[in-house]
């Protein structure tokens, strides 16, 4: 017989191990308390109402309206065994799709996605999951009445956006749902199916508009059934409504711009020079924002995306064009600022500027000796080619001249992002010394090689937003505010980068010369037909050559019609850029549209030229666009 102390030692060792392990689990380690809490606590999110959007005159543009999500709760769906004995969820998709008035295929796809989400454990089996979202309140009673036939399905209240104007879709943007495939951080405030701003103001001010989610904690058991409030609701937090925001847009001006642009493609951007607020951001063609809200939104979205006219393509922000004649503003400023020319510098225009064997034709001040002010008035190519040439070659080395020229363009915001609060944008392109060195070889190019830069053709590209900002800078005589859409946020300051001046570094007196020239354009120049006796406007027309590959061939399209302007001359309140694609002359479409826009804005919503207005409203370029459309592939 062996010793009893062996057994007692055995007991003591085991007890010792248990006591220390239990000490670790229960006293030392805190993680288990946290895990226990997350085990038994279910967080119910309370969605606050999304903030409203007002325009600069405090007109309500976007608010909310009640809607319903058709939800399915997986654990409550009827399950049957099929012939192979596999348990399957059975849903009569034909009947359900008929009730909901949706496509059966679409419904089946949603249900399939739902099943994947459940199987991937990305959503609780015991919680409703939205299958068809944003069913309007009008459809609610009808669907609700019949829904008892579909166990496991329910209608959950939600809200959707209500648009008070069928306008500014590109500015406001739309909302979308967090996709089931989205990669969400562990601590992300969003979960699958949540609504968030996808583009435009909705995206850029998502944080403010969304508000703070509320939390209601419930005690649950292992099956996820609620057994009561967690800790008597001690940790519940109320939701905080989204902040209302006000944007700088003048919704009436915006709508007027959209009307003027019907039948045309292009954009209008109007900026308030004294603040940098965007007054109107029109892209044409456009669409009704309510198309992307409600249950038809995915169908509408697909249609819009596939439309050859590209209504979802914001031409004001991401279409890049050669700037054409408005670029002469930059050429002139560069000449003056670098000291290459003085305002009184005069050139005789013989109708063409010769570069080697090539002659750059001029249709402006042919047969006259022009100074800079008159150069603008007649949009003389010869004059500005000469100015450009002097600017580039003033130091004998073209590279030094071009470097100065590039920096002037950059200081005016060209060739870079403007830092707006719009959800999209383009840098455009300003050629640099390095660019030409690469293209032609170092030292193997000079002013004449790059003479197209003088008149905004060639390699330069800009967006209409850049041009509008140029107009604002000229209006301000040398500085601009970053163009922005936001005007104010409830109880919060807007980003300070929008309230700080951006100085171009170009002397104010040079802008006076440019402004004089632009005023002359309305007095006796290319836009004289659109002048008003009581509002002194300043502008610059542009007629921009452009090419496109159609069916594999490079085709020269009708010129783009462009106009850059501000008004009134003293204390300007609006700076504007208008692009009408393939509108031929700047003075044919862009100038009158800009003139009407400025008049309407300054007069507070009416114009004094009904015939001109009528001509613009009714004018259509659809036949031109159709002519140059890519022929359908066989």
């Amino acid at each position: 017989m062996r010793n009893k102390y062996f057994l007692i030692t055995l007991v003591v060792i085991i007890a010792g191990v248990f006591l220390s392990r239990l000490f670790y689990l229960q006293v030392t380690e805190d993680e288990y308390k946290f895990l226990a809490a997350s085990n038994t606590r279910r967080d119910y999110v309370i969605y606050p109402p999304r903030g409203y959007i007002y325009d600069r005159n405090d007109s309500l543009i976007v608010s909310n309206q009640p809607a319903y999500n058709l939800c399915a709760t997986y654990s409550m769906l009827p399950i049957e065994k099929d012939s192979a004995g596999v348990r399957r969820v059975v849903v009569d998709t034909t009947a359900l799709s008929a009730l909901l008035e949706v496509d059966r295929e679409a419904l089946a796809t949603s249900l399939k996605k739902f099943r994947q989400v459940i199987l991937a454990r990305r959503h609780s089996r015991h919680q409703p999951y939205a299958i068809i979202s944003q069913i309007s309140a009008d459809d609610y009673p009808r669907i609700k009445e019949r829904l008892y036939r579909f166990p496991g399905f329910s209608l959950e209240k939600t809200t959707m956006r209500r648009y008070h104007y069928a306008s500014a879709a590109n500015v406001l943007g739309f909302l979308s749902e967090v996709s089931p495939n989205a990669r969400l951080d562990e601590d992300s405030e969003y979960k699958i199916g949540d609504i968030l701003g996808a583009t435009g103001v909705e995206k850029m001010y998502e944080k403010q508009l969304r508000g703070k989610l509320g939390h209601s904690y419930k005690q649950v058991d292992v099956r996820g059934s609620v057994t009561g409030d967690y800790m008597g609701g001690k940790y519940d937090t109320p939701s905080v409504a989204g902040k209302d925001i006000s944007i700088g847009l003048d919704i009436n001006l915006q709508m007027y711009g959209e009307r003027l642009m019907t039948g045309k493609r292009g954009s209008i951007i109007a900026i308030e020079p004294s603040t940098g607020q965007i007054l109107a951001l029109v892209t044409a063609p456009t669409y009704d924002p309510s198309l992307l809200s409600g249950r038809e939104r995915s169908k509408n979205y697909a249609r819009l995306v596939n439309d050859p006219a590209q209504p979802m393509f914001d031409r004001g922000l991401i279409a890049e064009y050669s700037p054409g004649s408005p670029w002469k503003i930059v050429t002139g400023l560069a000449g003056l600022q670098t000291g290459a020319v003085s305002p009184s510098f005069s050139v005789y225009c013989g109708g063409g500027y010769r570069v080697g064997n090539h002659v750059m034709a001029c249709k402006g001040g042919v047969g006259q000796t022009l100074d800079m002010r008159h150069g603008y008035q007649y949009s003389c190519n010869v004059y500005f080619a000469t100015v450009y040439s002097r600017t580039i070659e003033q130091n004998r080395k073209p590279a030094d001249g071009l470097r100065k020229w590039t920096s002037v363009a950059n200081s005016l915001g060209f060739g870079k992002y403007l830092g707006t609060d719009l959800s999209t944008g383009r840098k455009g392109f300003i050629p640099t010394v390095e660019f030409y060195d690469r293209a032609y070889g170092k030292g193997r190019w000079k002013a004449s090689t790059t003479i197209s830069n003088a008149i905004g053709q060639g390699e330069i590209t800009v967006t209409p937003m850049h041009l509008a900002n140029l107009a604002a800078t000229v209006a301000n005589k040398g500085y601009y505010y970053r163009p922005h859409i936001i005007r104010s946020i409830e109880g919060e300051d807007i980003d300070t980068s929008f309230t700080r001046r951006v100085e171009s570094g170009i002397e104010a007196r040079h802008f006076d010369v440019v402004a004089d020239g632009m005023a002359n354009v309305f007095k006796a120049g290319t836009a004289s037909a659109y002048a008003l006796p009581d509002i002194q406007m300043c502008g610059k027309t542009g007629t921009v050559e452009n090419f496109r590959k159609i069916n594999g061939q490079r085709v020269k399209l009708p010129d783009h019609s462009m106009f850059v302007a501000f008004a009134p001359r003293e204390n300007p309140v609006i700076a504007i850029a208008v692009v009408v694609e393939n509108g031929v002359w700047g003075s044919r479409w862009a100038a009158p549209i800009a003139s009407l826009m400025m008049e309407s804005y300054i007069r507070g919503g009416y114009v004094t030229r009904p015939e001109l207005e009528k001509r613009m409203l009714e004018g259509s370029l659809e036949s031109t666009y159709r002519m140059y459309q890519e022929s359908p592939k066989k």
Binding site: M1, L7, F18, L19, L25, Q26, A37, Q219, D221, T227
Partner: protein, 437 residues
């Protein structure tokens, strides 16, 4: 704390009231925890037979009757009837595959109308009695290989028969090997067994990290070499060590090439991997242990209080009123509750050891050791699995877990010992109490 008197009309008796008291404390505390683990707002009555707690109270009541019967029976009858009981239990076990009632895929029960019978519980008591009776025989010695083999067979038969139906219950019979060791079986067998177990665990690691199995050979070989060199240096024989190394390596080879993939089922492999913390599977095989750890861990020092365990109320721990009752205790009574329980149970076990060594007959002493071994095994395995130290082996915690059959078998097991102890002075001393063998 003991009273003397005449019960059953036979001589002088002396009941060990400490054990009885501990037994009562465990059973009552068990009922409290079962009540909490299965608490429902709809029927909060304690004495409702529709509730688990109510049933357990009934079982405990029946237990009192069983105790009375056990204590009134002739104290000599246990040794006399041990073999008959053993044979009866084996027949019942063998009949299970044919007549058994299937519950969750296991045929471990007989259903007799309103009453369920679990033969493995009877076998536990019967084997304890039969083994003790055999070991107590005159001239039976564990030093003799033939005797050892017979003793092993007595244990192995119910172990295999039970293990076919329910691995966990079968493993309980392993505990009797402690008794054989105490009876003098050579430590070499145990050394080999423990070594094989250790190499098995090493092998699990090696397979998991996809290392070559030659590492184990190298390791064991190197260790053997060191010991051999040492013994040669001391001018001692080394053939024993060589045999030992060879046996371990052969056993290891069998395990490595056959047992792991051939014998174990996938869920068992996963359980072993999760308990060794090699695989984290908190939603699958590891779910029970993980939830149990959370429940116990969240109890903290003082516990959340009776009926206030959120994990318990939410039914997060599966089988919480039976095998995982310790997690309720841990959540609601905290470290104070669990440590007190562990300490009291250890005291209980040590008391049994103490009782064993004051018996005058071999039968009583071996029986006491059997009782000790069974309780130790249940105590060790059950708590270890609830706190994540061992793979999940579904065996109940003695006296605490819900269930009539297990409560009664533990009661019978304990009270036969208490009865034998109470009557110990009726027997002529077979053992010289002061002497050590």
């Amino acid at each position: 704390m003991r009273i003397t008197g005449n019960i059953g009309g036979r001589g002088h008796i002396e009941v060990c009231w400490t054990l009885v008291l501990l037994y009562a404390v465990f059973v009552l505390f068990g009922i409290v925890n079962i009540y909490s683990a299965t608490y429902s707002v709809d029927s909060p009555q304690w004495f409702d037979l529709g509730n688990y707690a109510g049933k357990q109270i009934l079982y405990a009541g029946v237990g009192v009757i069983i105790i009375t019967v056990v204590m009134l029976l002739d104290v000599n009858s246990y040794e006399k009837w041990a073999w008959i009981l053993y044979v009866l239990a084996m027949i019942l076990l063998m009949g299970l595959p044919i007549f058994g009632h299937e519950v969750k895929g296991n045929k471990a029960w007989y259903k007799l109308g309103f009453f369920s019978l679990q033969p493995s519980e009877i076998a536990k008591v019967a084997t304890a009695l039969a083994l003790s009776a055999y070991l107590a025989r005159y001239k039976v010695s564990m030093k003799k290989l033939s005797h050892l083999i017979i003793a092993v067979c007595i244990i192995a038969l119910p172990m295999i028969l039970t293990g076919i139906q329910d691995t966990g219950s079968g493993m309980v019979f392993l505990s009797f090997f402690i008794v054989l060791y105490m009876a003098g079986a050579s430590g070499v067998y145990y050394a080999v067994g423990i070594s094989v177990a250790l190499t098995f665990i090493t092998d699990v690691f090696i397979q998991h990290y996809q290392l070559s199995h030659w590492w184990v050979f190298a390791l064991v070989g190197a260790l053997g070499l060191v010991v051999c060199v040492y013994r040669l240096f001391k001018k001692k024989k080394i053939w024993g060590i060589l045999c030992y190394v060879a046996i371990v390596l052969i056993m290891y080879s069998i395990i490595h090439f056959y047992v792991w993939n051939g014998v174990f089922k996938e869920y068992q492999r996963q359980r072993i991997l999760t308990s060794l913390k090699l695989v984290e599977d908190n939603k699958g095989v590891g779910f029970n242990t993980y939830q149990s750890e959370i429940a116990i861990g969240s109890g903290g020092l003082w516990g959340k209080g009776f009926l206030d365990g959120s994990q318990t109320k939410g039914n997060f721990v599966p089988e919480q009123h039976t095998d995982f009752i310790f997690s309720t205790l841990g959540e609601e009574w905290g470290y104070v509750g669990t440590s007190l329980t562990v300490i009291l149970f250890s005291v209980f076990l040590c008391m049994i050891v103490w009782l064993a060594f004051r018996q005058r007959t071999y039968f009583a002493r071996y029986y006491a050791l059997c009782v000790f071994s069974v309780f130790l095994f249940h105590f060790m395995i059950n708590i270890a699995m609830t706190i994540g130290l061992m793979p999940v082996i579904g065996i109940p915690m003695p006296f605490f877990s819900y269930g009539g059959s297990s409560l009664w078998s533990f009661t019978v097991l304990l009270f036969i010992l208490i009865t034998l102890d109470a009557h110990r002075k009726d027997f002529l001393p077979e053992i010289n109490i002061g002497a050590r063998r």
